[in-house]
Amino acid sequence: MTLQTEGDTHVVVTRRFAAPPEAVYRAHTDPKLVQKWMLGPEGWTMPVCISEAKPGGKIRYEWSNGKGGGFHLTGEYLELEPYSRLVHVERMHLPNPTPDNHIETRFDPDGTGTLMTMRMTLPDAQTRAAMLATGMESGMEASYVRLEEMI
C-alpha cells in the first residue's frame, strides 16, 4: 500500500488486491461487505452501515470502539461506473462535520487482481493538513495515546 500527498490538496492511496475489479468494487459499495473490513485499528466495529450505490445515493458509516466511544461519516455517491470507478464525497462528524472530502476510487485490472487508486481532494491545503494531523480515521484515541507515549 502507498499513502502519499500530491500537490497542495490531494492525498493518494494505492493498494493491490488478489481479487478481480468486480469483487473489489462490490466490497467497497455493498454495505454488508463494507461493514466487515472498513474498521481501522483493532477493537472498532461498524454497527451502522448505509451505502446506496447509485448516483445521489447516501452513505453513512457509524463506528464504535465498544467502550462508548464513536464517530460517524456521511456522504453521497456522485458517479458510479461498475466495476471500474467510484466518485463520492464524504465528511467526518467529530461531532462537527469536517469539510467535504471529494474521493475518486479507481479499480484497474492488474494481472488476475486489481490495483485500487483512491484520490482524495480536500477544499484547500489547510484542510488537508488538518485531516492528516488529526488522523484520517479520527476517533483514533488509542492511537493518540500511543503516539504521545512514543514521542
Binding site: L3, A23, L39, L132, R146, I151
Partner: protein
C-alpha cells in the same frame, strides 16, 4: 518533546510549495538563508518568514556559526511526522488486510455455481 499541537502546525507548515522546497533542500544538508533564497524569486526576508513558520512547527532548527545562522532539519519534528503517517498507513493497511479476507471468502461460491 513533540506534541500533537506541534504535529498540526507541522502539517500546516507543509501546506505550501515554497516551504516544501526549503525542506527538500535542507534534507540534503544545512544551508544559510542566502543559499536557501537563491533558487527562488523571493527576497531573503520572505524566505526568512517561511523559515520562521518551519521553525515554529519544529521542523527546522538554526545553529550559530560566527555571524552565520545555518538552518537544518529538526530530526525530532520530521520523525514525529513520519511516525504519524506510518500509523495512518498502519490503520488503513489493517482495514485492507481485512478486505483481503473478505475478498477471499467472496471468491469461493463463484467456482461451484453462479450467484
Amino acid at each position: 518533546m513533540y506534541s500533537i499541537s506541534n504535529l498540526d502546525a507541522a502539517f500546516s507548515a507543509l501546506a505550501d510549495p515554497t516551504r516544501r522546497a526549503i525542506l527538500a533542500r535542507l534534507a540534503k544538508g544545512e544551508a544559510t538563508v542566502m543559499e536557501l533564497a537563491a533558487p527562488f524569486e523571493m527576497t531573503q526576508p520572505a524566505i526568512s518568514q517561511h523559515l520562521k513558520v518551519l521553525e515554529d512547527a519544529g521542523l527546522v532548527v538554526r545553529r550559530v556559526d560566527g555571524t552565520k545562522r545555518p538552518r537544518r532539519l529538526a530530526k525530532a519534528g520530521v520523525e514525529a511526522m513520519d511516525q504519524w503517517l506510518a500509523m495512518l498507513r498502519k490503520a488503513l493497511e489493517k482495514s485492507y488486510d481485512r478486505l483481503d479476507e473478505v475478498l477471499a471468502s467472496m471468491e469461493k461460491p463463484r467456482r461451484g455455481e453462479k450467484r
